[in-house]
């Protein structure tokens, strides 16, 4: 059995949509082998020989020399002996006519219109139109799939004027539907699922009203740490506070006697703070509970006495630690104080300088305070401040005397410590300070 096969212009390169026949290499009547060139073609990109896809006899040329045709156009017919090939290629065609093969079911449904399974499935558009025009949908003829009433069916029904009669008989119903439609019209469609993203609530931008020269300071990591520690301490530790007055007249005399020699010998100032630290450390030795911390189900009493020393700068306060303060004499403490103060000023404190404190002393007198309410250096149990030394009239043995006086303030963790023990502790610090005299030794 003989059959005809078309040779088509192939897709020779991307973006090419057409080609021009340059020259026919075979003429009608010629025998053509498979892959044998039948013509030369020209395109924007390439010039090429076009091979035959089958073996057979060229029977007809469809596109002449010099003509330009789109890709896919048949340019000649070849008669082949083998019917199989031709049928196979013909079979391919229907396969590609689309994945949506809806025609047969549609035809079937229409033929089956007596059943009309879609007759009572009304689309939203149909219902809306029916309501708008007060139409009984049972009166409308459906032309859609499965006898469905389409939007156009309703419009055609309205246009035909068939619905007018209904309007008169069912006026009550039409009033209600009419108002419903009006309301719907105002909310656009459903009003529930509009595509716009819901409006975000207006957010007050901090500082938006700061128009009168307010300025903002960025919070440094150090400031942030201070803030966090302070807040944690105040919110977790129930603070209590007490104060005692100390007569340091003898201490003042002692220091005045020794300070110049000490400066010559050690090269540093002999401060009151060194004496205070010694007095505090010795008192802690007598009342070890002052050197402790709260651990929820127990209280940890620390063996080492490491005094945190609050050292202020322009914009921060740090608490470097004098480790094993009980092992040091007054001169040693004075040197430590000097060293830590210098490191703080120069910003050279290391992490180890800051760790391990068990009790904090703050020399608030250095900036003129006579009374302060310190916040405990978390997680310690207490903090003591040393206020300014001022000369005041004091009654001693029913006589007035001018004495050098200083206040010591103590904030305490009331979970660990109570008034009695703290009173005794402060009394011991006071006794230690007042017992310094001109014979006391620094070393």
């Amino acid at each position: 059995m003989k059959s005809l096969t078309e040779i088509v212009v192939p897709q020779l390169a991307e973006s090419l949509v057409s080609a021009t026949i340059d020259k026919w290499l075979k003429q009608p009547g010629d025998w053509v082998n498979i892959y044998e060139p039948v013509c030369e073609i020209l395109t924007d990109k390439v010039n090429a020989e076009l091979p035959s896809t089958v073996a057979g006899k060229l029977v007809k040329i469809l596109v002449g020399k010099g003509e330009t045709v789109p890709v896919g156009t048949a340019i000649c017919m070849i008669e082949t002996e083998d019917a199989g090939d031709a049928e196979a290629s013909a079979d391919l065609q229907p396969d590609y006519t689309g994945s949506v093969k809806a025609s047969p079911p549609i035809a079937a449904a229409e033929a089956d219109s007596e059943d009309a399974p879609m007759r009572n499935r009304f689309s939203p558009a149909v219902q809306q139109l029916a309501a708008e025009h007060s139409i009984r949908l049972t009166d409308v003829h459906g032309t859609g799939l499965g006898g469905r009433i389409t939007r156009k069916d309703v419009l055609a029904y309205v246009a035909s004027g068939a619905g007018k009669a209904n309007l008169a008989t069912g006026s009550n119903a039409s009033v209600t539907t009419q108002t419903a439609v009006d309301a719907a019209g105002q909310v656009r469609s459903s009003g529930l699922h509009l595509t716009e993203t819901p409006r975000l609530p207006r957010i007050e931008v901090e500082g938006a009203s700061a128009s009168r020269g307010d300025s903002f300071i960025d919070v440094t990591p150090l400031r942030n740490t201070i803030a966090r520690n302070m807040r944690q301490s105040v919110s977790e530790i129930p603070h209590a506070w007490t104060m005692i007055e100390v007569d340091v007249t003898n201490l003042v005399l002692l220091r005045n006697k020794l300070k110049d020699d000490f400066m010559k010998r050690e090269g540093i100032n002999l401060t009151y703070l060194a004496f205070l630290l010694k007095a505090v450390v010795n008192a802690i030795k007598d009342f070890p509970i002052m050197n402790s911390m709260w651990a929820v189900d127990k209280i940890i009493v620390k063996r080492d006495i490491n005094i945190s020393l609050a050292v202020g700068t322009e914009d921060s306060v740090l608490t470097p630690v004098i480790k094993n303060a009980d092992h040091k004499n007054i001169a040693g403490l004075a040197k430590e104080i000097e060293e830590l103060a210098r490191k703080t000023r120069e910003g050279k404190l290391t992490l180890s300088d800051m760790q391990g404190g068990t009790f904090t002393v703050n020399n608030t007198g250095s900036f003129g305070s006579i009374l302060s309410y310190p916040i405990i250096n978390y997680p310690q149990a207490a903090i003591l401040t040393f206020e300014s030394i001022v000369k005041r009239p004091v009654v001693i043995n029913d006589m007035l005397a001018v004495r050098s006086m200083a206040n010591l303030c103590l904030s305490l963790d009331h979970r660990i410590l109570d008034g009695v023990i703290c009173g005794r502790f402060l009394q011991r610090v006071k006794d230690n300070l007042e017992s310094f005299n001109l014979e006391s030794k620094l070393y």
């Binding site: 590609y96 939203p124 389409t150 939007r151 469609s189």
Partner: protein, 327 residues
């Protein structure tokens, strides 16, 4: 006014914009000396010199990066991705830098950049010369995306993209280059970004699409008119931002909508168009929203039957349109 091929309209737009504004320049692989692999930039180097037609290394990330840098500096680069398939190495630059710089700098900086990239298959291009990557970039706030179908829009949209102060991705269809030919004025006009265009008026069904498949839709609509089916055709033209009002108006007219694109169905532009319609127009729909798109397979096959299966064509489109019209 003369009929002009789609590719010539693109070239003309670049030429006119480069003549108009010295800050406009093109860069990409082979865009200079060779004039582009599709000849899109042919003649630009001769006219404007090699400093305004930069031949770049084969590094799309660098093409996008250089273009973004130049744009931030005030230039108006047109960066060419030789095939949109090669665009993915530049995705980070485009999505993370170009799209975000205005937001990130609190409106202080902008990126007036155009990225041209040919999309689409049916050209015997196989896996790496046929992709439609719209959905990769679609939905990225900060990017505008246009995809012209007609030569008229190809010129007008490219000029609008060049003049836009923000990054615009210009997806041109490589199969349209020589296939689509229509009247293009030689005047200086732009097609506004964000406006869809009604290609054909009708009242039986609405077809919404963009780029090449509209060619098949127009052919099918013409044939279906003979069967008494009248079709409304909407060319989106801009994919981002979508012309919501245009879409809703087109759907309202018929209540039946078919959305068509070559990019695969799942997560494509059609999904968003469909969602907009479902959210806004439930009570005006007369049939389920339909989509006809590329299949959800990894890539265009190189074998001709496979390619034919993958691609949309007039017959497939016509079947789907008839089915919806009869619903």
């Amino acid at each position: 006014m003369a009929a002009m091929d789609y590719i010539d309209a693109i070239r003309l737009a670049m030429k006119e914009e480069m003549e108009r504004d010295e800050d406009v320049f093109v860069l990409g692989e082979d865009v200079g000396l060779k004039g582009g692999v599709f000849t899109t930039t042919k003649g630009l180097m001769e006219q404007f010199g090699e400093e305004r037609t930069l031949d770049t290394p084969l590094a799309e990330s660098a093409i996008a990066g250089v273009a973004i840098g130049a744009a931030l500096y005030g230039m108006k680069p047109i960066a060419e991705m030789q095939y949109s398939d090669f665009m993915f190495p530049a995705t980070n630059q485009i999505i993370s830098e170009a799209a975000k710089i205005r937001y990130r700098s609190n409106n202080d900086w902008s990126c007036p950049l155009v990225i041209r990239a040919p999309i689409g298959g049916g050209v015997f291009g196989g896996l790496y010369h046929s992709q439609c990557p719209e959905s990769v970039f679609f939905g990225t706030p900060g990017l505008k995306i246009v995809a012209p179908y007609r030569a008229y829009d190809a010129k007008g949209l490219l000029k609008a993209a060049v003049r836009d102060p923000d990054p615009v991705i210009y997806f041109e269809n490589k199969k349209c280059y020589k296939l689509i030919n229509d009247d293009v004025p030689d005047t200086d006009y732009i097609v506004p970004i964000g406006k869809a265009n009604v290609l054909r008026e009708g009242d039986d069904l609405t077809v919404i699409g963009y780029s090449l498949p509209l060619h098949f839709v127009e052919q099918a609509a013409e044939e279906l008119a003979g069967e008494g089916i009248s079709t409304q055709i909407l060319d989106l033209r801009t994919l981002q931002p979508l012309d919501k009002e245009g879409i809703l108006d087109a759907v309202r007219k018929t209540g039946k909508v078919l959305i068509i694109h070559e990019d695969n169905k799942t997560g494509g532009v059609g999904a968003e168009v469909s969602a907009i319609i479902a959210e806004e127009l439930l009570y005006e729909l007369d049939a389920p929203i339909m989509r006809l798109c590329g299949p959800d397979v990894p890539a265009m096959p190189i074998n001709p039957p496979g390619e034919k299966f993958f691609m949309l064509n007039k017959e497939k489109v016509k079947e789907a349109m008839r089915h919806l019209a009869q619903y």
